[in-house]
């Protein structure tokens, strides 16, 4: 089946099998390997991307379901050389160790801050409740997102 998907502002046309998952479409068809492939069962949340502005686990979206829609991946967070505040927050507060969960965490964090620029720790934990990190114990991830909330309007140095 032919699909037309706008990913990070760029239109892509591909012929895909109907069973192809969006996560594999992004990684294998488009080479956007920033979106990770983890549990394949919507538990771990490493594959979170935005579909029409809403965070979804891309292992439970078929590529054909994204036909005619807009996808934003972790590669679409930075503006040129300027990292998104959530990316800077994860650097400033050591929000990652191995980095496997980070793309999904960043995408959910971006969505959260777009809708609530000043989330409480509780709000952050609730928003991330569908995502697993096996390294940090979440403390630094929550701090990183709070950092982004507090420094989001500053220009990166």
């Amino acid at each position: 089946m032919q699909v037309v998907v706008v990913v990070n502002g760029e239109e892509h046309v591909r012929d895909v099998e109907p069973r192809l998952l969006l996560v594999h479409f992004l990684r294998d068809e488009l080479g956007l390997t920033g979106t990770h492939w983890g549990c394949d069962t919507s538990n771990c949340g490493v594959c979170v991307v935005h579909l029409d502005g809403v965070p979804v686990k891309s292992c439970t979206v078929l590529a054909v379901m994204a036909d005619g829609h807009e996808v934003r991946t972790v590669e679409g967070l930075a503006r040129g050389a300027e990292l998104d505040p959530v990316q800077r927050g994860f650097i400033a507060c050591h929000g990652l160790q191995c980095g496997f969960c980070t793309p999904g965490m960043l995408m959910t964090a971006r969505w959260l801050l777009d809708h609530d620029p000043d989330p409480s720790t509780e709000d952050i934990r609730s928003a991330l409740s569908g995502q697993l990190c096996r390294c940090t114990g979440y403390e630094n991830i929550v701090r990183s997102i709070r950092w982004a909330a507090e420094h989001g309007s500053e220009v990166a140095s």
Binding site: S42, P55, V56, K57, T60, T108, S126, S129, G130, Q131
Partner: protein
């Protein structure tokens, strides 16, 4: 009327659904996680017919009707008659669930769930819907999730409560009846005696929670 493709996040954000049936928001808040709720659908959950799925007991308690579209037309199945076993429904080849109809009557309702961690399947959960007229329970629906209740319903506990006052004592007895009649299985979420204890306690809590909303 809830379309089968309504997403969990949409139902959770519906003010009308929350006002008429607070039980729907109780349940939606504890179904999976916010990101999964952005994709998962109400009809999908029902048709999966997972014995630990939350909405099956909720719609059974609400006495909802499920609208099924087939090749030759439409038929309506009571939620209580929709499930024939774990992962099995009455849907035949060529049939699709297209909508869920919930009768709008003055009622109070609640859903309470015990799970091991955020977003997990229930260890056990109970759904309660009560219609009250002049201090008497005129109709009641009690659903059980993951506790081995036939058709997700605690029918004997419902029978106990109908036509009496909504008292804490009667709720506790309804819980004991529900616990005695359900058939939970032991698994990594707990042994049978614990789950039976949960059935009794959660039914009483759901009933009290529902009535607590009456004021």
């Amino acid at each position: 009327m809830i379309g089968a493709l309504v997403r969990h996040a949409e139902l959770l954000s519906s003010a009308v659904a929350g006002r008429l049936f607070p039980i729907l928001h109780d349940a939606e808040r504890v179904i999976a996680d916010p990101i999964v709720r952005n994709r998962g659908t109400v009809g999908g959950s029902l048709c999966q017919a997972d014995p630990s799925e939350d909405l099956s007991a909720v719609f059974a308690a609400l006495r909802a009707e499920l609208v099924v579209q087939g090749l030759d037309g439409e038929r309506v199945v009571a939620a209580r008659d929709f499930f024939v076993g774990p992962y099995q429904t009455v849907l035949a080849d060529g049939e699709l669930l297209v909508a869920i109809r919930v009768p709008v009557r003055p009622s109070v309702s609640a859903y309470v769930k015990v799970d091991r961690r955020a977003g997990d399947w229930a260890v056990g959960a109970a759904a309660a819907v009560l219609e009250l007229v002049d201090g008497v329970v005129t109709e009641v629906g009690i659903g059980l999730t993951a506790l081995g209740a036939r058709r997700f319903v605690a029918a004997e506990a419902e029978d106990h409560l109908r036509a009496g006052p909504p008292s804490g004592e009667r709720f506790a007895e309804a819980g004991r009846i529900a616990a005695a009649h359900c058939a939970p299985t032991a698994d990594q979420r707990g042994p049978v005696d614990y789950k039976r204890h949960l059935a009794g306690e959660l039914v009483a809590r759901a009933l009290r929670g529902a009535v607590g909303r009456a004021a």
